[in-house]
Symmetry: C2
Subunit: 142 residues, 2 copies
């Protein structure tokens, strides 16, 4: 039986975050000691590891919820899980494209700055005038 702190250490999760996952129903309510402290089973450790790993791969908490549900029904076809992953992959690829365009733009900005007065700063100039951009970067590249 793990304390919440122990579980946090094993999974690289802050204590508050674990409680937050419980609050939003992503982690089940664990057993408690007589004094009211949480004690976690190995199943909880597995589940949290899954969640954290999926987070690291950029899945949203909603997507993770779906994936966890699917994992609980081993006999259902796995198409859904596959689709969620494909969707995620697509998103990642789109973000990559946008970020790459941003990188180009920023690089150009920085390289053209020769270090004079701000009045002549290419960085500020480019920001002032979108038409100088080589790429369309219409969405935030985050």
């Amino acid at each position: 039986m793990l304390t919440i702190g122990g579980l946090g250490k094993k999974t690289g999760t802050k204590v508050q975050t674990i409680r937050y996952y419980e609050q939003i129903g992503l982690m089940p309510e664990p057993d408690r000691t007589e004094g009211g402290q949480r004690r976690y089973s190995l199943a909880a450790l597995d589940r949290l590891s899954f969640i954290r790993h999926a987070r690291q791969l950029g899945f949203s908490l909603d997507a993770i919820r779906e994936l966890l549900d699917l994992g609980d029904h081993p006999d259902r076809p796995c198409e859904e899980a596959d689709q969620i992953a494909r969707r995620q992959l697509k998103q990642v690829e789109q973000r990559l494209q946008r970020l790459e365009a941003l990188r180009q733009e920023l690089k150009r900005m920085v390289h053209e700055c020769s270090g004079g007065r701000t009045a002549d700063c290419r960085v500020l100039e480019v920001l002032r005038d979108h038409s100088e951009c080589l790429t369309d970067h219409n969405e935030i590249g985050a």
Copy 2:
């Protein structure tokens, strides 16, 4: 003199967002009609364009605030602006690296899924067991 809606259209910004920028002091308080509606000058249009463009390039509102300050002092050296841009470039490059690693992992996951039952789903399996990963993806790739 532009209405807030007109300004929004010209810059691709939602009306609420413009008011939000005003609230946090990124946009100055504009003139008002007798009835209390906002009316914007061309200077305001320039400023908002600058802000939106910088946002598209991924700068934080704080960074933008700094950049705007620098733009208001044309005689100061532009090193600072350059540094802000370099910092941003670095961040973008780091994100690109992480996202690329995630893409690999997701691609592998998806390709290995042969479409059976969830019990045998590679997607779920990989998520369950981090040790199957080829890459370290310790931070969220967002």
